[in-house]
Symmetry: C2
Subunit: 215 residues, 2 copies
Amino acid sequence: MAVTLYGLPTSSSTGRVLTTLLEKEVSDFKFQHVDLSNGAHKKPSFLSMQPFGLIPVLQDGDLTLFESRAISRYIALKYENQGTPLYGRNMKEKAYVEQWLEVESQNFHPSASALVYQLSSRPKKGLKPEEEVVKQNVEKLERVLDVYEAQLSRNPYLAGDFFSLADLSHLPRTKSLIHSANIPHLFTARENVHKWWERISTRPSWEKVMEMASV
Amino acid sequence: MAVTLYGLPTSSSTGRVLTTLLEKEVSDFKFQHVDLSNGAHKKPSFLSMQPFGLIPVLQDGDLTLFESRAISRYIALKYENQGTPLYGRNMKEKAYVEQWLEVESQNFHPSASALVYQLSSRPKKGLKPEEEVVKQNVEKLERVLDVYEAQLSRNPYLAGDFFSLADLSHLPRTKSLIHSANIPHLFTARENVHKWWERISTRPSWEKVMEMASV
């Protein structure tokens, strides 16, 4: 039975799951657009699947799952014998994947999201960015990227010599930081971070997700 | 070979990992106190293990791992055939454990940490809590706990009928919210959340960690 993903290709959390499905060569999934503009995500039928009213949601038979990183982990596990080995090849590599996935979730994501909100979402609403909030979050993000720079000087990918769920998980927000928040220099100023971004953002899976988002 | 955990029993992240080790009946681990008061976590020898200068860190042979939720996942996997089945009994249960672990990390933890900082850490430094920040985070946390209340009215634990890594991961911060931030009513006001807290906070593993923290 095919899995169904509810979401929007332009949402960063949905993009994370879509990229995972494509990397795992799950070709027969159904994609169900959720129309946020008419509040479809706040209606009882959607809230019965996702009590916080957020996208994406995955349905696989009688399993209904939310939280994009949890969905991606499930897909990586269910389809472990096909596509890209997103958890690596053994328990040690898997441990490192989980470590960098947590760094993404706990350290990278909060500052990255705050900056996308300040530098992209607020201006779209006619509001100015709050300078002090921007400054603090740029500093936090730079500290994270300095650690990445050191790690990526030793390995082509965060968890080692293989592309993993940890790298993948950074794609949507980094794209927004570079293109919507317009702060590419945080990445290009760091040689190994820059090469890593070139490496992961040119993967066919992500290019396909970008194409879905631009339609 | 025994695993070594570097941390402090009073730190909530260290408490998460210690509880996981005890639930998995890993009795021969070594515990290495990290003296934050003399800046041991910012010295080169520690930074070579944990580039952000944070506790805890796990060493297991040539594996050096940080991020408490990643360490806990590694322990749950490495010792999957002993102790409490913290990931459940099959792929579907594991998916739900990951989902609620992500809810803890993305939804519960940010507000909970902000409130512990505002209502416990700031007063200890002679600073008043910032009223607006407290108000916003109480509202956010109440929305999360409302979802928990509904979920826990159907199941004794977050991911189903079994105690999992998702419940475990809530122990340290919830304890701080109740005892240090002094807002137990957020939990006691919700019948099923309250029963859940009684259920998980009386586990021998957690009682032992509390004992280690009070020495």
